[in-house]
């Protein structure tokens, strides 16, 4: 039982991070119907900004308090993501209103290359580290219940906690504020939202900003684990099976889908791996997504698309 729970917990924590990235996809897709291929590049861009800001601030100001430096760097990176959201709306998507989904997808692929290139030009292309000051040492829990206890990585635990808090805050923002209500209204019906005076372009800037901030949090957490480097933008590829599983239009779906993929990956590696020669973790998510596409193409929580013929 011990090893099983250990794997399960590990999977849940990784899954939480997948959920975060998937959440960025879902937020934008729901509000504007754009499948944002650039979500991964946004994770990289945001993490690069934060890593470099955290490095530059002590040099410029002489402040050497890690908490203050990280806070300022985070705020700076948030600002960068908001400006980026505004620019994307103004220069790209604002000019493609009413275009086909595929056109918008191509535009976001363009944004991907732009962000990857300009991010590394602006902030450098080395491997940088974000030090959030999270403890790295593993701990044993439930030592009394199980023989040997369960080994938990403290850093993962904190990361999952941060992700959960962020998701809770977002849910509150969407449910309890006027702007959140306007966002939900736009997600539900563009035309009706416009007719009651909700400004679509402003809402889209807000959504891209929120997706940018979610990308930043995801990037900061992954970055502090693995270092901020180009491969960070590839993490987003793991979010694709998550949104297929959970449904492109469902926020709870993104979260639960992320957890399922995270847990599935780890468990299959441990229990199926030995029979299939290992290395399952890499492709498990995609095969699971493929199976889902066959059985339930709209995902677990997505809206079933019914077309009138």
């Amino acid at each position: 039982m011990g090893p099983f729970l250990e794997t399960l917990l590990g999977g849940l924590m990784v899954g939480m991070l997948y959920s975060l990235i998937a959440l960025g996809f879902v937020l934008i897709y729901k509000a504007s119907g754009v499948f944002n291929f650039a979500q991964g590049a946004m994770v990289l861009f945001a993490a690069l900004a934060m890593a470099r800001f955290a490095e530059w601030i002590p040099k410029l100001t002489g402040l050497n308090n890690k908490l203050i430096d990280n806070t300022i760097a985070f705020a700076g990176a948030v600002l960068v993501m908001i400006v980026l959201a505004w620019l994307i709306q103004k220069l790209v998507l604002g000019r493609l209103v009413n275009q086909d989904g595929i056109t918008l997808l191509m535009a976001t692929i363009g944004i991907t290359y732009f962000l990857e290139g300009s991010g590394q030009t602006l902030f450098g292309n080395d491997i940088y580290k974000i030090d959030l000051g999270m403890p790295k040492d593993p701990v044993f829990i439930f030592e009394k219940t199980f023989d040997g206890g369960i080994l938990v990585n403290k850093e993962d635990l904190y990361a999952a906690l941060i992700a959960a808090v962020l998701v809770a805050l977002l849910a509150l923002f969407f449910q309890k504020t006027g702007t959140g209500r306007a966002l939900r209204a736009v997600a539900d019906d563009h035309q009706a939202a416009q007719s009651i005076g909700i400004p679509l372009d402003r809402i889209w800037v807000i959504v891209w900003s929120v997706a940018g901030i979610v990308a930043l949090v995801a990037g900061a957490i992954w970055g502090s684990k693995l270092g901020v480097q180009f491969s960070l933008s590839l993490v987003a590829l793991k979010a694709l099976p998550v949104v297929i599983l959970g449904g492109l239009t469902s926020i709870p779906g993104a979260i639960i889908g992320g957890l399922i993929i995270g847990v599935g990956e780890k468990l299959s590696e441990i229990y199926l791996g030995p029979h299939l020669g290992g290395g399952i973790e890499i492709w498990f998510a995609y095969v699971l997504a493929l199976a889902f596409l066959l059985v339930r193409p709209q995902g677990l929580f997505g809206e079933k698309i019914i077309d009138r013929v």
Partner: protein, 261 residues
């Protein structure tokens, strides 16, 4: 019967022509709407009623002509800008936010009246909190008025059709519009629901003094509700006047019943 004296002209539609490529949807339509009146636009299928409403609402941009609200012309405005000028509308095929509760749906109608910014709202600043409470009060008033208290927290998609239409009306009312455009408010309703809706329309007109422009298919309803009627057929105006005048107009009779050859 709405029996009060109509005021000055509030909405003035002059020589509107709308084409989609070679198809003429509207040709040279002129009419006015006076303050506090209920003005109906009727006509057979495909007469251009909805196109007319969409022109006023800013969904379509007519190629010719102009529309004035209280003397201010609005050309090249999108629906949001028209909304800002005080024109609200309901939809023929319900366009409610189906996943949201009745309360939230109607609250979205207050969006234009919200003054606090996103940051204040996110932090639940005092001003944002007070504003939310004030808007909530107005919305609760509307919910009472439309007699849908029991459904306050129900997701709109789960409500019966007739009640969804009321929510649509409620959301438009929440904007406190100067002019309210109703696109077939009675479409698809049974007799009882039609009577309820007629009563609400008259009450809105009476109690809030809202000017109402109404598109309707059902001749009977229109004649009972409206002060003046515009009749369209094939994108042209073929009649304009009081319900009695319109009913006696030979062009209108032939458009609805067919001409005797």
């Amino acid at each position: 019967m709405a029996g009060r004296a109509a005021g000055d002209v509030i909405l003035d539609v002059r020589n509107i022509s709308l084409r989609f490529g070679g198809v003429k949807a509207l040709t040279d339509i002129t009419f006015d709407v006076r303050e506090h009146e209920i003005r109906a636009i009727i006509g057979p299928n495909g007469a251009g009623k909805s196109s007319m409403l969409n022109c006023i609402n800013g969904v379509y941009q007519p190629q010719e002509g102009s529309i004035h609200l209280r003397g201010r012309a609005f050309r090249h405005m999108n629906p949001r800008q028209v909304a800002e000028m005080g024109v609200a509308r309901t939809f023929q095929n319900l366009a409610l936010f189906k996943g949201m509760s009745v309360l939230d749906n109607i609250m979205t109608g207050r969006n234009l009246k919200m003054r606090t910014n996103i940051l204040q709202q996110a932090l639940r600043w005092g001003a944002a909190e007070r504003e939310e409470t004030a808007h909530r009060k107005v919305v609760e008033g509307i919910i009472d008025f439309l007699e849908i208290q029991a459904y306050r927290k129900t997701p709109v998609g789960k409500m019966p059709y007739g009640l969804q239409k009321r929510v649509d009306l409620g959301r438009a009312l929440a904007m406190e519009p100067q002019v309210l455009l109703l696109d077939e408010p009675m479409a698809g309703m049974n007799v009882e629901e039609k009577q309820d809706m007629s009563r609400f329309i008259l009450d809105v007109n009476d109690e809030f003094g809202t000017t109402i422009v109404l598109i309707e298919h059902d001749m009977g309803v229109v004649m009972d509700l409206s002060d003046r009627v515009v009749v369209l057929d094939y994108g042209r105006k073929i009649g304009d006047g009081s319900p009695e005048e319109v009913r006696a107009n030979p062009d209108v009779i032939s458009a609805y019943l067919g001409t005797v050859h």
